[in-house]
């Protein structure tokens, strides 16, 4: 009876996981997030591939030229069906909805685009450009010039020495995603560590537990349970998101790089979360009631907000520094890795730095926890807690 079949920390870990998995709010919020991830990828794919069609009739030759120009210039997702009709027929067909719009030339090179009850912006835009192009060409021809000789869009091409525009926008999107996932998980799974420490302290269950097992094992089990949950949820989100992106009919660029960096992100997430877990446990031990946590958690939530904003907005030198600061590096280093210009040594050094911090934080948390968790009466300050005797 005295020999522990299962180590105590594992029993505590399993309980943490089990309790959370039975929590309906947790299950529902996870499912909703999953649906949002799949949904947003599906919607992006759908919007990107959907083609809009317009049927437009020209009532004269000039209008027809404009329409043909527009049809040939139209981007991939826009199709303009062109026909030429007498004005009366065009009006009649527009009225019954067989046409989306009619185009006719008025006096002094003015064109009129008529819709039934509205003119779609997309069509309007396409025709405005085509009209300008046709009229300019006509004007140039009459002046004896060739339109191709005019300076046009091609006069200035944009290139970047590092990466390209597409990559930059991918990094932006992923930076937001990483930052947000980290922020969310740190709160969703960090706060419960503090709360469960307070619950046991408040109900004095901790005295019974401490009489049976080592407090170190209790703390370890608690942290480990929440780390497992956080990591499992993160992996679920990332893999479902990447898989949905992979299946999506749209070619999503950089999927390979993103998948690779996602792996790094998981590693950085793990150590960053461990540091935070130690901090949450300390806060829980210092508090005497759940209400105390609202005050004491302020700085941690502040740090998390900072991580979120640094992840989304930090650039260049600032980002490089951030990628070596524990907790912040969990987001900043993966973002730098997305750029593809970071040598392997850098994330390894950063990871080692965070691991070292993690070690100290957990040791410190355990020190505080063992002293403060038995304390009854008011919330403690760190200094007071360190002075407590076992």
């Amino acid at each position: 009876m005295n020999t522990l079949a299962t180590p105590a920390w594992l029993i505590v870990t399993l309980r943490e996981v089990e309790t959370k998995l039975r929590d309906k709010a947790f299950i529902i919020s996870t499912l909703v997030t999953l649906l949002l991830i799949i949904g947003s990828i599906a919607v992006t794919g759908f919007l990107a591939t959907r083609t809009t069609q317009f049927s437009v009739a020209a009532t004269d030759q000039a209008s027809l030229t404009v329409l043909n120009q527009a049809a040939s210039d139209a981007e991939d997702q826009l199709k303009i069906n062109v026909e030429q009709l007498p004005a009366d027929d065009a009006t009649a067909q527009l009225d019954v909805g067989e046409l989306d719009a009619t185009l006719s030339q008025g006096p002094a090179n003015k064109f009129t685009l008529t819709g039934s009850d509205e003119v779609p912006d997309k069509l309007h835009g396409a025709l405005r450009e085509a009209t300008e192009k046709v009229l300019t060409a006509r004007l140039l021809t009459s002046a004896g010039l060739n339109a191709d000789q005019l300076p046009g869009d091609g006069a200035l091409t944009v290139t970047q020495m590092h990466g390209d525009a597409e990559r930059a926008s991918m990094i932006k999107a992923m930076a937001f995603l990483f930052s947000f996932l980290f922020y969310m998980s740190a709160l969703i799974f960090g706060m419960p560590i503090a709360n469960s420490v307070i619950e046991e302290k408040q109900n004095r269950v901790v005295e019974i537990l401490a009489g049976a097992i080592n407090l170190r094992q209790l703390l370890a089990g608690k942290i480990l349970g929440n780390v497992i949950l956080a990591l499992a949820q993160l992996l679920l989100f990332l893999s479902v998101g990447l898989f949905a992106a992979y299946l999506s009919p749209v070619q999503i660029p950089f999927l390979g790089v993103v998948s690779q960096v996602a792996g790094w992100f998981v590693a950085f997430f793990l150590v960053g979360f461990l540091v935070l877990a130690g901090i949450w446990a300390t806060l829980g031990a210092l508090a005497s009631r759940t209400e105390d946590l609202q005050q004491s958690s302020g700085p941690v939530v502040g740090v998390l907000m900072a991580v979120l904003f640094i992840g989304i907005y930090a650039k260049d030198g600032f980002l490089v520094i951030a990628s070596y600061v524990p907790i912040v590096s969990s987001v900043a280093m993966p973002i730098r890795l997305l750029g593809g210009e970071v040598s392997l040594v850098e994330p390894l050094i950063s990871l080692a730095l965070t691991l070292a911090t993690c070690w100290f934080t957990i040791l410190f948390a355990e020190r505080i926890y063992r002293r403060a968790v038995m304390h009854t009466g008011g919330a403690l300050t760190l200094r007071k807690a360190l002075k407590l005797e076992l």
Partner: protein, 293 residues
């Protein structure tokens, strides 16, 4: 036998326990009494390894208790509470596992104990849905689950209704009868009278008494209660008699020697009727008051 030898403990320079020594014998219920702040809870926490002693020794059957945790001790802390939101059976299984039981064994034992406390049908209820008395029974079940070698209970009777007190008493007696040392603290002195076999009295961190209840009673048993047919005032002037309490025909006295007692009895009979001449059996509550006075 659980034994404390010269245990001391201070908090922030204030001595809370001053060379506390007492024994908790096997096969007996040991009552631990003292005023609020006398050091009962601190002592119990040191026994449980929740606090370190600054000096002294703690032994169980002669072997020092060194490990910080006591997996085979059953403990019920003064401030009650398990996990309010969790079903009763779940938390009992969890605590049983932490005490080294396999999950299945923990479940069987927990159900047995709940049945014994008349709570079998509440096993799946959340703890907070139970009445206070029933929550306390669950708490006791938690302390007994792993069939502890030593039982330490801080105020197990506080907040219980008379029926629950009876149930708790019979459970504690049961454990004591199995040879488990049982130490419990209580404020309800009248309760101790019928329950405890061994009494430990603590005041301001010092142990004032540590003896079997019968011994304490005998030490105080040189007193006699007298009831006469007429006023007993003449006892005040009798040699060899110390009057402790006197009202009309009733007196509580202490005799110098047994011979003094016999002489006074003969004298009283010669003066008139004697309706009572009895050895006074003091209540433990009285003994306690006497000792701490």
């Amino acid at each position: 036998m659980l034994e404390l030898q010269q245990i001391t403990r201070s908090f922030a320079g204030t001595k809370v326990l001053d060379e506390v020594s007492f024994t908790v014998p096997r096969g007996a219920l040991t009552g631990f009494v003292g005023a609020n702040g006398a050091g009962k809870t601190t002592t119990m926490r040191i026994i449980m390894g929740l606090l370190n002693a600054h000096g002294g020794r703690l032994t169980l059957d002669g072997a020092a208790l060194d490990a910080p945790t006591r997996p085979n001790f059953g403990y019920m802390p003064e401030e009650r509470g398990l996990y309010p939101k969790q079903p009763v059976i779940d938390q009992l299984i969890y605590l049983g596992q932490l005490h080294g039981l396999a999950r299945g064994t923990a479940r069987t034992r927990a159900m047995d104990l709940l049945a014994r406390f008349g709570l079998a049908d509440r096993a799946k209820s959340r703890l907070e849905a139970l009445s206070l008395g029933n929550q306390q029974r669950v708490q006791v079940a938690a302390a007994l689950l792993h069939e502890p070698d030593v039982l330490v209970l801080d105020e197990p009777f506080s907040g219980l209704d008379p029926l629950a007190v009876d149930a708790m008493s019979s459970i504690l007696r049961d454990y004591a009868a199995r040879g488990v040392p049982v130490l419990f603290s209580s404020h309800q002195l009248d309760l101790l009278d019928t329950l405890v076999d061994h009494l430990v009295i603590i005041q301001e961190g010092k142990i004032l008494a540590n003896a079997p209840a019968s011994e304490l009673r005998t030490a105080q048993a040189s007193r006699h209660r007298l009831a006469l047919g007429a006023d007993a005032g003449w006892l005040r002037t009798e040699p060899g008699v110390e009057v402790i309490d006197l009202s009309g025909e009733h007196a509580l006295v202490s005799f110098g020697t047994p011979a003094d007692g016999q002489r006074v009895l003969a004298h009283a009979l010669s003066r008139g009727t004697v309706t009572q001449f009895a050895l006074h059996r003091p209540a433990l509550a009285d003994i306690y008051r006497e000792i701490i006075a």
